[in-house]
Amino acid sequence: MSGAAIEVRGFSQDFGGVRKIHALDLDVHRHEIFGIIGPARSGKSTFLCALNRLNDLVRGSRHEGSIAVDGSDIYAPDVDVVALRRKLGMVFATPVPLPRSIYENVAFGARRAGIHGRDRLDGLVRDSLEKGGLWEEVQDRLGTSALKLSGGQQQRLCVARILAVKPEFILLDEPTSGLDPISTMKIEESLRKLKKDYTIILVTNNTKQAARVADRTAFFLNGGLVEVGPTAKIFTAPDDKRTDDYLRGKFG
């Protein structure tokens, strides 16, 4: 398929009349890790939630412009939003395991999609946990409560959970902000491996993480895109002074 995986054209989003994102234009390429950095309140998370139309659930949300995934406008009238959200899986900043077993957490999305039958689910759960880098640690206690896992393990569980619904894109919203360095490293390692099969968009307030992991990086400020480009360039020779100032820590 030609064209970028995700094409955003002139996209704006309002909540109750307050504009949170202004006229965004950007592309995300297939099988890359696309990093988004910027200070708080810059619209990074809002943008992420626009991609899977999670913002629709907020009362009084409006948008302008378009977002096309694989060439199709996600706001077209005949779009199946439920399928869209499986296609773009999301991992949140705080790991939120559902109050059930590890197995049931991973199987949750698949069950909703109509996949039943112990054999299929068993294989799917194992596969997802392996890809999420958690299988070894939990393989003999799949039936225990997911709430008993450590923070880092819970977050890897959340990754496995979305992998089980066979997405094409993985959206991560500050996934390691509350985690210890080792868990952070493990997750970053998983992302590098997952890039092969998925397209990854990573919002992070830790610029060093973007530098480590992202292929291209975008800098958001006050709801708008300031600059986007290959990570190396953004971090060494950004075009925009604001990007430079932010990376030097002059604000943020």
């Binding site: 995934v69 009238p77 779009v79 869209l84 296609k87």
Partner: protein, 297 residues
């Protein structure tokens, strides 16, 4: 991309809309029942009030159904006396418990008192009435004279019965006060009681008043316990020790065998009772919402 055809999407939307509609209908069941109750009670009870005249109905001091004399005044007074008596007992005890529960007790003690209060709320009214008959009424008769079946007995038992209502709502309003109020007061050197008296009680005032009004509503609406211990004489009680009949007892005592206009008169009693309760509850809810919503300053 994961699109669905126009038909399928409309099906998803339609399902969601159907669910929402079905739940809306269900949600209106409470309101509908309320409306139906109001309609039926009024429909059955008001004709006779207009036939005999509202004034004679409410102010008439004799109730002789067999002679078609329907005066509710003794029962109205009876309900008022008994309710006031219940408040005299219930409010101080109830408030005391609420204050002790929230401000003066350790977690362990609270773990004892709270279940006790909830248990008190669960005891059937007939059991309360029974205790009144077996213990309280003879006691009153022997200590103070009179038949024992009296305003006093009813007030005491009703006072006990409304304790859980007053306690739980007052506790809620006291607990809703932010800790900073307490901390600020203590920091200024006040004792715990001074904090309670001068900061907390005023702050919780609307909630406490709401609990009192709701307690009143419960007392006025109580039937079984009152029938067993109040004596049920259809005359204005002359003293605390005199027997009394309330509006609720009036209905319950005679409903079993009433017919024709007598029965309609009992429905009319129901209307009066219903109106009183509705007014009380609306006032309570308004006061309570002021507790929840409109704290200023």
């Amino acid at each position: 991309m994961g699109t669905v055809g126009r038909g399928a999407r409309n099906r998803l939307e339609r399902n969601d809309r159907l669910v929402r509609l079905a739940l809306l209908v269900v949600a209106f069941s409470a309101v509908s029942v309320l409306l139906i109750i109001t309609v039926f009670i009024i429909e059955q009870g008001t004709p006779i009030m207009f036939k005999y005249g509202l004034k004679s109905f409410l102010a008439g001091s004799s109730w002789y159904p067999s002679e078609k004399v329907f005066g509710l005044w003794p029962m109205i007074v009876g309900s008022i006396y008994v309710t006031l008596g219940a408040m005299v007992l219930g409010v101080p005890f109830g408030l005391a418990c609420a204050i002790v529960l929230t401000e003066f007790s350790s977690k362990r003690v609270r773990g004892v008192i709270k279940p006790v209060v909830e248990l008190l709320a669960g005891i059937p009214s007939v059991v309360y009435g029974f205790m009144g008959v077996v213990i309280l009424v003879p006691f009153i008769r022997e200590t103070f004279g009179g038949p024992g079946l009296s305003v006093l007995a009813a007030s005491i038992i009703l006072g006990i019965m409304i304790l859980p209502t007053i306690i739980s709502i007052s506790v809620d309003s006291l607990q809703a006060i932010p800790p900073s109020y307490r901390e600020g007061s203590i920091a200024l050197g006040a004792t715990k009681w001074q904090t309670v008296k001068m900061v907390l009680l005023p702050a919780a005032r609307s909630g406490i008043i709401a609990s009192v009004i709701l307690g009143m509503g419960r007392a006025i609406g109580e039937t079984m316990a009152v029938i067993m211990i109040a004596g049920n004489a259809a005359s204005v009680p002359g003293s605390l020790l005199a027997p009394v009949r309330t509006l609720t007892s009036n209905i319950a005592l005679e409903m079993g065998y009433a017919a024709g206009e007598h029965r309609q008169a009992l429905f009319a009693t129901g209307v009066i009772l219903f109106v009183i309760i509705m007014v009380l509850n609306t006032v309570a809810n308004v006061t309570a919402s002021r507790m929840k919503g409109g704290r200023r300053g």
